[in-house]
Subunit: 241 residues, 2 copies
């Protein structure tokens, strides 16, 4: 069934006018008819079954009928990723949504070239992936910040999984199974890796867990997906069946 992320509050009987984009999608792309059902979520009120109540090519209204799932917080996991090339960054954002990251934060490192990106485009990708993967919220995308600033303003109590290509870090599964649950962030560097200075600073942080992702060189998107999956399996919501 179609799932849509909407900004409106959700309650039984609420009539909701969808924006032009979503109206076009339902009316012209998916060709829904009045009375057809879909699912809605807004990140606050759980998931609701709804039906199409009014149908125009550019203005569709839907009526919320009954809650199908209560809102429940997902794992408190940030993905911090260096600004890599656009196609790979878009893949990473899509996969972070599928793999249950709460937030994606963009970082500028010494070996990062690009210094800006289209946040609206990344948010649209995260939203579509959230709709398809069945989660009840959309990961927030945070604008690029220098890595040193991220570290300077680090939130107390949040641990950091730091994927270290240099080779002397513990294997990732060993590192994660020895680590506590709770709020975490995963840091993925640029294709050129971290500078020696950055590595030194990261390895000196008492909240950081360096980890190795095996003997082969991984592209940034592969490393991000692997680390998110390992974290979910060892410390996140892949532990329940």
């Amino acid at each position: 069934m179609i799932r849509l992320f909407i900004p409106h509050d959700l309650a039984a009987g609420a009539e909701l006018a969808l924006d032009h984009g979503q109206s076009h999608y339902l009316a012209s792309v998916m060709r829904l008819a009045a009375g057809d059902q879909l699912l809605l979520f807004n990140g606050r009120d759980g998931e609701w079954r709804a039906s199409v109540s009014a149908l125009g090519k550019r203005a569709v209204a839907v009526r919320a009928e009954a809650q199908t799932r209560a809102q429940a917080p997902g794992p408190d996991l940030d993905l911090i990723v260096a600004l890599v090339k656009r196609a790979r960054l878009e893949t990473i954002v899509e996969k972070a949504a599928e793999l249950g990251a709460a937030r994606v934060r963009l970082a500028l490192t010494e070996r990062t070239n690009a210094d800006h990106t289209r946040l609206e485009r990344l948010t649209a990708i995260a939203t579509e992936a959230a709709e398809q993967t069945g989660r009840l919220d959309v990961p927030a995308i945070a604008a690029p910040v220098k890595l040193e600033k991220l570290i300077d303003g680090w939130e107390p109590g949040r641990r950091l999984l730091f994927c270290d290509e240099a080779g002397d870090a513990a294997p990732i599964l060993e590192a994660l199974t020895a680590a506590p649950a709770g709020p975490w962030a995963i840091l993925i560097g640029p294709e050129g890796g971290f500078s020696a200075k950055e590595r030194e600073r990261l390895r000196g942080l008492d909240y950081a867990t360096p980890a190795s992702l095996g003997p082969r060189i991984l592209r940034a998107d592969t490393a991000a997906i692997a680390a998110l999956s390992l974290w979910q399996a060892a410390l996140g919501d892949w532990r329940q069946s």
Copy 2:
């Protein structure tokens, strides 16, 4: 440094004439000069340092100088993947090479639509990924075979990790840590999932381990990368640091 997969035998002093594609890549794309160094591997003789010995726009020769790494077998891991749409299948092949699969076998399932694909294109993608990731071989790509035929001809002693979306399978990390090392295959179904009949047959196989990849719906490429990463971390060559 540039790494190239070549068909030739490698030995100290061997002069090797590269094909047109690789000659063009070295001469015109990477603009190497006579004497410049690169790395070569063929899947049999380890990795060798070589230098450009003759340089034309369409005919480059290189001389193997010294072995830099001895050939060593990687994990004996097959990825069996349903024929999904071309872009996702190409991503899966690239990532299987990065994540150390020995072979990628294509499967036709009840809910698979496409029934043929360009194996040469997939092999080229696997080769380029193998060159970049630093491995000493290229994963073989096997032509599509019906899932039931794959099962009928199953190699004795090879275990099968079966990513089961239906929800009552054990969490993947629990399933893998309880399982033996040795030859394995990972099976990734089509976007529509396996049919009830296929699931029943898979779950009845004594060499199969069903596993859950968490509460969200994953696209086929995400599931493949997650499962390969978890397997490498729990049973493969990500266990050593």
